[in-house]
């Protein structure tokens, strides 16, 4: 879908459109804590597996708590913003606080093998599909 474009701008635009098309689809179903909850999540497919990319700028790794059970993944934590003392604030748009969100993915996963990486303010969760859930090709006898 995003491949096959020589022009990087075209690639990017195609990607933005692809995301737009998937915007708040019911793919995650009603089991996931309402969309619009913090932090926002994008889910991608990579072969048999899923990659969830969570937008969480400015959070300390130690303040993140990720748990997995069955096909449920919980991302909880807090984000704090410290202003130095004796400053006059001109603009304050960034928000701090706590969050707790649960994702239920519509496939069987191998919770032991979920990997999480936090880089540049993005939390990436690599969610491998359970071996028994992978489609098998059936030979015609």
């Amino acid at each position: 879908m995003v491949m096959g474009y020589a022009d990087p701008f075209e690639t990017l635009f195609a990607f933005q459109r692809a995301l737009e098309n998937r915007f708040a689809s019911d793919w995650l179903g009603t089991t996931t804590a309402s969309s619009g909850a913090y932090p926002p999540v994008n889910v991608f497919q990579q072969g048999d597996d899923l990659v969830a990319i969570v937008e969480l700028p400015g959070v300390n790794k130690e303040d993140l708590n990720i748990q997995a059970k069955g096909n449920t993944i919980r991302v909880a934590g807090s984000k704090s913003i410290d202003y130095p003392e004796d400053v006059s604030l001109h603009r304050r748009e960034r928000l701090s606080g706590v969050f707790d969100r649960t994702l239920v993915v519509p496939m069987q996963v191998n919770p032991e093998a979920i990997k999480a990486e936090y880089n540049d303010g993005l939390l990436a969760l690599f969610i491998p599909r359970a071996e028994q859930d992978k489609p098998k090709s059936i030979q015609i006898s």
Binding site: G36, P57, L89, S96, G97, L122
Partner: protein, 134 residues
């Protein structure tokens, strides 16, 4: 500070299309905090997904422009199945006064958050004026 407040999603705001772009690409406004002390003005902008090599900070004619590009190679081979936020470059400009020592602006990037330190020019610092009796 109310640290236990529940965080809310902030809808990403698109860059105002005052100047028509030739490409229909979307750029977003990073959320910003700005505060001032006696010596410095500090700007903090959130640009999740941007690493330090993809940031441009420019000062031109009193305009400070911060741009962050997304490395789309990281998304290669990923097919979107569900999305709650869009991805695109970040851009935001601020008019800064000449009270800022523009040669000494410093930038630091961490966890998708850039902190810009803008030191005030010497003459702009508040000075206590002694009243002498005449």
């Amino acid at each position: 500070m109310a640290e236990d407040r529940e965080l809310q999603v902030q809808e990403k705001r698109e860059v105002d299309k005052a100047q028509e772009q030739t490409r229909p690409l979307r750029a977003f406004l990073p959320t910003a905090d700005i505060y001032e002390t006696e010596d410095v003005l500090t700007l903090i902008l959130e640009m999740p997904g941007v690493d330090r090599s993809n940031i441009d900070v420019n000062v031109d004619g009193g305009m400070l422009t911060i741009e962050g590009r997304i490395d789309f190679n990281k998304y290669e081979g990923l097919q979107p199945v569900y999305s709650e936020y869009n991805i695109g470059p970040y851009r935001r400009s601020f008019r800064i006064s000449n009270r800022i020592d523009q040669d000494k602006i410093k930038a630091e990037m961490r966890d998708g958050v850039i902190t810009l330190t803008l030191p005030k020019a010497e003459e702009a610092k508040p000075r206590r004026i002694e009243v002498t009796s005449g």
